[in-house]
């Protein structure tokens, strides 16, 4: 369609994106506030970033969160990709409905339920809660997101590419390695990134599944927010937004460079 934006559309877009972005922009802006009062502008300062790096508890929580996120995103990517293949390529198999149900339900299921159920499982099995129980909780959620992303890519995948490779003499294993994997890799990377951010961001499931000594960053942020607004939270938020923003940009750039469509 060769038609420009009407001014009404432009106004709607501007208002909509302002609604989405102004709150986040303000958090970032006020992280450079010299005043201790979060909502009173007292001049530019980076002191909150300095004090952030002196806050041992926060740093430790951040380190736990990043390690949990890495581990659960890696596990989610493997399991989620398997699940996507099973759904997209295996045709009918026994209990397919149950399987896809278990994959889709966690996407919308309230987190308090997932968290409570997992906690009761760990208690029932007598497993001490800590780092790995959080990883398990986050993987359960993350693998479903990875499966959805990878399945979408597989659904648009032209199977004749794989047949062409076999026709040219590539064994099924080589076909997978040289054709299928490179072509779904961008979706797997997107899924990994999604699982990583979901884990890094999660507060509810982590609260249920963490144990002493494994307090995550969102749990720390949450308890600080409950106590009141502090510019330090703005600073750590800005850092998190920056990290996620950069990795999103990097992912897009990589996709642009080496992800021609598999259709």
């Amino acid at each position: 369609m060769k038609r420009g934006l009407t001014s009404a559309h432009l106004a709607i877009l501007a208002a909509g994106f302002a609604f989405l972005y102004v709150p986040i922009a303000l958090v970032v802006l006020y992280s450079f506030n010299a005043s201790r009062l979060v909502t009173v502008w007292g001049g530019f300062s980076t002191q909150w970033y300095v004090s952030l790096f002196a806050n041992e508890q926060l740093l430790q929580a951040a380190s736990i969160s990043f390690r949990v996120a890495l581990a659960s995103a890696a596990l989610s990517t493997v399991l989620g990709t398997c699940a996507a293949f099973a759904l997209q390529r295996f045709g009918r198999f026994p209990a397919r409905t149950l399987f896809s149900g278990m994959l889709y339900a966690p996407l919308v299921m309230p987190e308090v339920i997932i968290g409570l159920a997992l906690l009761l499982l760990f208690v029932g099995l007598g497993i001490d809660r800590g780092f790995w129980t959080i990883v398990i909780g986050h993987t359960t959620l993350g693998l479903c997101f990875v499966a959805v992303v990878v399945q979408a890519r597989l659904a648009g995948f032209d199977r004749s590419l794989e047949e062409a490779a076999q026709d040219l003499g590539a064994s099924p294993a080589r076909t997978f390695r040289s054709i299928t994997l490179p072509l779904i890799a961008p979706a797997m990377a997107a899924g990994f990134l999604l699982a990583f951010t979901i884990s890094l961001d999660d507060f509810v499931i982590a609260s249920f599944t963490s144990g002493p000594g494994s307090t995550t960053l969102p749990m720390r942020i949450y308890s600080q927010v409950r106590l009141g607004l502090t510019p330090e939270i703005n600073a750590i938020s800005t850092l998190l937004i920056g990290i996620v923003g950069l990795s999103l940009l990097a992912a897009t750039a990589i996709n642009r460079l080496k992800a021609p469509s598999a259709r």
């Binding site: 032209d158 004749s160 590419l161 026709d167 003499g169 992800a259 469509s261």
Partner: protein
């Protein structure tokens, strides 16, 4: 063409659930032949091609290549290559990498691969474009890369799935001749699967017309056109007019029939239908005569010119016969075909030796 055929299908059957896609089909294809599998969609030609390539396994029957039973050989071990309808170019590889893919699987030395890729690029007139990505190519270029990629392994047999379907009309015309030339130069047997009878007629040495999982007729294009074995073949290959009726009399070399509208017609017949048997006469539009009323009076019917279309040196007429039947007549302009006006009364007739009475 003596000796064992290059490809032999022996009583091959393949069903998907209740649907029999290929039914008890046998076919021989010799070396160095351009062969076309022609048929409407759903006739089983695609399944047949996938059976030959190895993407499907027959339920029954065997497939031989060069005398060797390849029925149970997976596709990557068959020295048959295929050009896919979508071309299936690997989007994450350059043109040269695409073409080299097959040789890499054989583990050939780097230098040999490079020089053979260059040869192929030359064959398909793509020299200098080896570093392009598939999405930077035009439709015609993609088709040529697909051809080069499938030919580089010097397969004994090349399968081409609707090779021209994705091209526009003008390009299709040129590409037909390029494919014929590539077949001549490589000496590989080409098997083209197509639903377009024009393509098959132009390119193939021999063609098979398929219907409902079986082959109706195999032969040279001209033979199939002039001597269709069945009503389906007559209708599918080229344009034709049909008259249905029952046999009323035997004639030398043919039969006379009477249609339900009372029209009596004679036609050549290779079969021996019983008196009273239902047959269909097929007569090509170019074999129908148009004459002024009164000149001829047999083997035809009077009628009225409905309309006339001029195309590529030919005049096509639609004539409504007095029996109510509608027929197409084609005359070259040089024969004076343009001389009939709309609404003009004419007599449409044909020589019995130009028409074929068909039992099925």
């Amino acid at each position: 063409m003596g000796g064992a055929p290059l490809l032999r299908l022996a009583r091959v059957t393949k069903a998907y659930g209740d649907v029999v896609a290929v039914r008890d089909l046998s076919l021989d294809i010799p070396a160095n032949e351009f062969f076309a599998l022609l048929g409407p969609s759903g006739c089983g030609k695609t399944t047949l091609m996938r059976l030959i390539a190895g993407f499907e396994t027959p339920d029954d029957g065997r497939i031989y290549l060069d005398g060797q039973d390849i029925t149970d050989l997976p596709p990557h071990l068959r020295s048959i290559n295929m050009m896919f309808q979508s071309y299936a170019l690997f989007p994450h590889m350059s043109v040269a990498q695409n073409i080299a893919f097959g040789l890499k699987q054989e583990g050939r030395p780097r230098q040999e691969i490079a020089s053979r890729v260059e040869d192929m690029l030359r064959l398909v007139q793509m020299v200098g474009l080896g570093e392009r990505r598939p999405d930077q190519l035009s439709g015609g270029q993609r088709q040529r890369v697909a051809l080069a990629r499938a030919l580089i392994k010097r397969p004994k047999l090349l399968l081409l799935d609707e090779p021209l379907a994705a091209l526009d009309r003008k390009l299709r015309h040129d590409t037909q001749f390029e494919l014929m030339q590539a077949q001549r130069e490589t000496g590989t047997s080409f098997v083209v699967v197509t639903h377009d009878q024009d393509e098959a007629m132009v390119m193939a040495h021999r063609m098979a017309v398929m219907r409902a999982g079986a082959i109706d007729q195999i032969g040279a294009p001209r033979e199939v056109y002039e001597e269709p074995a069945t009503r389906h073949v007559a209708g599918f290959v080229g344009e034709t007019n049909f008259f249905e009726g029952r046999v009323i009399q035997y004639m030398p070399g043919g039969v006379a029939i009477e249609t339900s509208k009372g029209l009596k017609l004679e036609a050549f017949c290779q079969q021996h239908p019983a008196i009273g048997a239902k047959v269909t006469i097929s007569i090509r539009p170019e074999n129908l005569r148009l004459s002024a009323p009164g000149v001829f009076s047999s083997n035809g019917s009077a009628g009225e010119i409905l309309d006339q279309v001029f195309r590529e040196g030919l005049s096509s007429f639609r004539v409504k016969l007095d029996t109510g039947d509608l027929v197409h007549v084609r005359k070259s302009v040089s024969e004076g075909g343009a001389q009939h006006a709309r609404g003009e009364r004419v007599f449409v007739s044909f020589a019995p030796e130009h028409a074929r009475a068909l039992l099925t």
